[in-house]
């Protein structure tokens, strides 16, 4: 990857510059909005940007919020590399969480620490199967995965809502949630009194896995070839339809994993609203991170940073949390605009079919 960066060094820095300018631009526009509301931008931004490092608790919050975004963001990025749009992060997340809770109910603490591992594996399978539906629809029936993943989001969320209100509802609980998972299926917190858990390490492992997969393996190379265009892929002996199914399932593995992690390290139960719009935010994270493993991690931390700061900002300055939706939106719009102006060719892989395939082939030859 590094070699690639030095080769396209100027492009790499250009992208970085565009992102930096977009962040500044978004904050500037945000400042105007704050002025209209008669709030002091300096004061609000101080809370928004610096409060996450002021207390250990807040820093822990950043780590907690970043964990699912990194994991799902990696999944989304893999799909995007293959020319697929996985907008169903939420459905895979919830199915993963369901898988984990089912293991906690059936196996419970019989296996001790192994229950946790079994739970996570089952969650990954559940996530993969959910996403595989979209992959199969795309490959076998030519139905856009965008539509199927969006539909699956709703189907799964209503299904989960039914389960936690009905069959899986914890006995004696007044609110709709499942019973707490046994202690051996909980991932411990990093420090006393914070919400950060060691699950962040799993997220980092995911990012490393993604980097190795994409830049070091033949499978990853083939994924990029399919993303470059199905015709080029066919010429090089790859069956794109097979890859669509496999990659979609692989992408879902991460969604499922994130669901298991959120249950095992934060809520310890399955309930409605477990996902804080993670699926769509992960799409933005993977875009902001330029589909690069390190970029995805940084982008996820940035989003988590904003949401942590926003909570403080809401309490101390009286600016509602939704303000960061404006900041995020303007930021991404600026980046989309900037990339198209500055580079002219930054597009998600499937779109520049021919050049990408050729460029990819060129790299391999060297």
């Amino acid at each position: 990857m590094k070699r690639e960066n030095t080769k396209n060094g100027s492009e790499f820095w250009q992208k970085g510059l565009i992102i930096l300018l977009s962040v500044l631009g978004a904050l500037l526009v945000g400042a105007v909005f704050l002025l209209i509301q008669k709030k002091s931008p300096v004061e609000v931004y101080q809370q928004l940007l610096f409060s996450p490092v002021k207390t250990v608790g807040n820093l822990g919050q950043v780590i907690k919020d970043a964990t699912p975004l990194i994991i799902i963001g990696v999944g989304v990025s893999i799909a995007t590399k293959c020319g697929l749009s996985n907008l169903g992060g939420d459905s895979q997340f919830y199915m993963g969480a369901l898988g984990y809770v089912l293991v906690s109910i059936t196996i419970g603490d019989k296996l001790g620490g192994f229950s946790l591992i079994v739970g996570i594996l089952v969650a990954m399978v559940f996530g993969a199967l959910t996403a595989a539906i979209a992959g199969i629809f795309r490959a076998c029936f030519k139905v856009s995965e965008i539509i199927t993943t969006l539909m699956l989001n709703y189907i799964v969320q209503y299904f989960i809502s039914y389960l936690v209100n009905g069959p899986l509802k914890s006995e004696g609980s007044t609110i709709a949630q499942t019973a707490e998972v046994p202690a051996c299926m909980k991932i411990p917190r990093m420090f006393q009194g914070t919400t950060a858990s060691w699950a962040i390490l799993i997220a980092i492992v995911c990012a490393v896995f993604y980097w190795v997969l994409i830049s070091k393996t033949k499978f990853g190379y083939n994924i990029k070839t399919v993303g470059g265009g199905i015709r080029a892929a066919r010429y090089s002996g790859i069956n794109p339809m097979k890859y669509y199914m496999m990659v979609m399932a692989l992408s879902g593995v991460f969604g499922g994993l994130a669901g298991a992690i959120e249950v095992s390290s934060q809520k310890y139960r399955l309930l409605e609203g477990l996902s804080n719009d993670f699926g769509f935010n992960a799409v933005l994270v993977s875009l902001l991170g330029m589909l690069h493993p390190v970029g995805v991690v940084i982008a996820a931390i940035f989003f988590a940073w904003l949401s942590t700061g926003a909570n403080v900002m809401q309490i101390t300055c009286g600016v509602p949390v939704t303000f960061i939706a404006i900041i995020k939106g303007i930021l991404i719009l600026f980046i989309l605009f900037g990339m198209s102006i500055k580079l002219g060719k930054f597009r998600l892989p499937v779109k520049h079919k021919k050049e990408a395939a050729l460029a990819g082939a060129g790299k391999e030859m060297k």
């Binding site: 539906i133 629809f137 189907i155 809502s161 039914y162 799409v283 939706a325 404006i326």
Partner: protein
């Protein structure tokens, strides 16, 4: 329990809840027929609802409000069109960003204009009964005693079906969505067609937002569209990109919502979540069941590049 009353109330809820979905759905059909995904439908609807409320509240005229709402939706669609057609960015990403942005933006604007007053409201419009037809038992009050926007919706559905299937411009529109290269070769301006299609979609989504304000809620609340834009996308798939069937599909989604509310009100023990889930599942099944989902425009979601071969 009075079953006939129950059925009528569910049916009329189905139509009432189905109208905004149908407006959005027909818009999505038009834009997708031209090959542009309209995931930003939700954003257009929110902006339409917000502007409708502001304009109706200040001018006191719902007609002006609804028109302004439609135009507001169209303007949001212009932004989507600019980024995804002219600047060639990923259509789904552009849509998602705007959806997230618009939730914050509209509630910010509302607060900037009206502070924390959440009780501001406008009078909702009355329904118009068609003489004679509205007297038919059961269906009369359901289908012939609705607000003016319902009748407009029927006209829009018929008109868009006619234009798309019987007129030259409709053929051209479909060509743009199926095979833009061939369309270009026939002298059709692909980019302009996509802009216009998305603008119409934005206008209709804006009207869908207006309907929420002037006919259902009477006031603006945060995230008032609550996923109806996405239901619009589901509708366009369920109706296999046919504007007339879009009406039926919308009423199916509306019926699920209506039935859910009634069942809960009557305390009947059918899990309502399953009911809400059914139309989505039906959509997925229908995409596979009828001829390998072949009705979706072939170039849907792709960026059009003149120079590329």
């Amino acid at each position: 329990m009075n079953w006939s009353l129950f059925i009528v109330s569910v049916l009329s809820a189905a139509v009432r809840m189905g109208i905004p979905i149908a407006f959005a759905g027909i818009g999505v059909v038009i834009s997708e027929k031209a090959g542009v995904l309209n995931i930003g439908c939700e954003a257009e609807m929110l902006m339409g609802a917000f502007i409708t409320f502001v304009v109706s509240y200040t001018t006191g005229s719902t007609v002006v409000g609804v028109l302004a709402g439609g135009i507001a939706g169209m303007l949001v669609a212009q932004l989507i069109a600019y980024l995804s057609i002219s600047r060639k960015q990923d259509q789904s990403v552009v849509g998602i960003v705007l959806n997230i942005f618009m939730v914050g933006f509209t509630s910010f604007l509302y607060r900037a204009l009206y502070g924390n007053q959440s009780s501001l409201s406008i009078d909702t419009i009355d329904s118009i009964a068609i003489p004679l037809l509205s007297k038919i038992p059961f269906i009369g009050s359901v289908f012939f005693d609705q607000t003016i926007l319902y009748y407009i919706l029927i006209l829009v559905a018929i008109a868009s079906w006619y234009i798309m299937n019987k007129m030259k411009v409709g053929l051209q529109l479909r060509a743009v969505g199926e095979n833009p290269k061939a369309a270009q070769a026939c002298g059709i301006n692909v980019v302009r067609f996509r802009y216009v299609a998305l603008s119409i979609a934005g206008f209709l989504s804006g009207i869908a937002g207006s309907y929420l304000i002037v006919a259902i809620m009477g006031k603006f609340t945060e995230n008032i569209s609550a996923g109806r834009g996405f239901i619009g996308m589901a509708v366009s798939a369920l109706c296999h990109w046919n504007p007339l069937l879009a009406l039926v599909a919308s009423f199916i989604f509306g019926a699920a919502q209506g039935l859910q509310m009634r069942l809960q009100a009557y305390g009947i023990g059918i899990p309502y979540q399953i009911l809400l889930m059914l139309p989505y599942a039906l959509t997925l099944v229908s995409l596979v069941a009828f001829g390998r989902g072949a009705k979706a425009p072939k170039d849907l979601g792709h960026v059009y590049e003149k120079e590329a071969r």
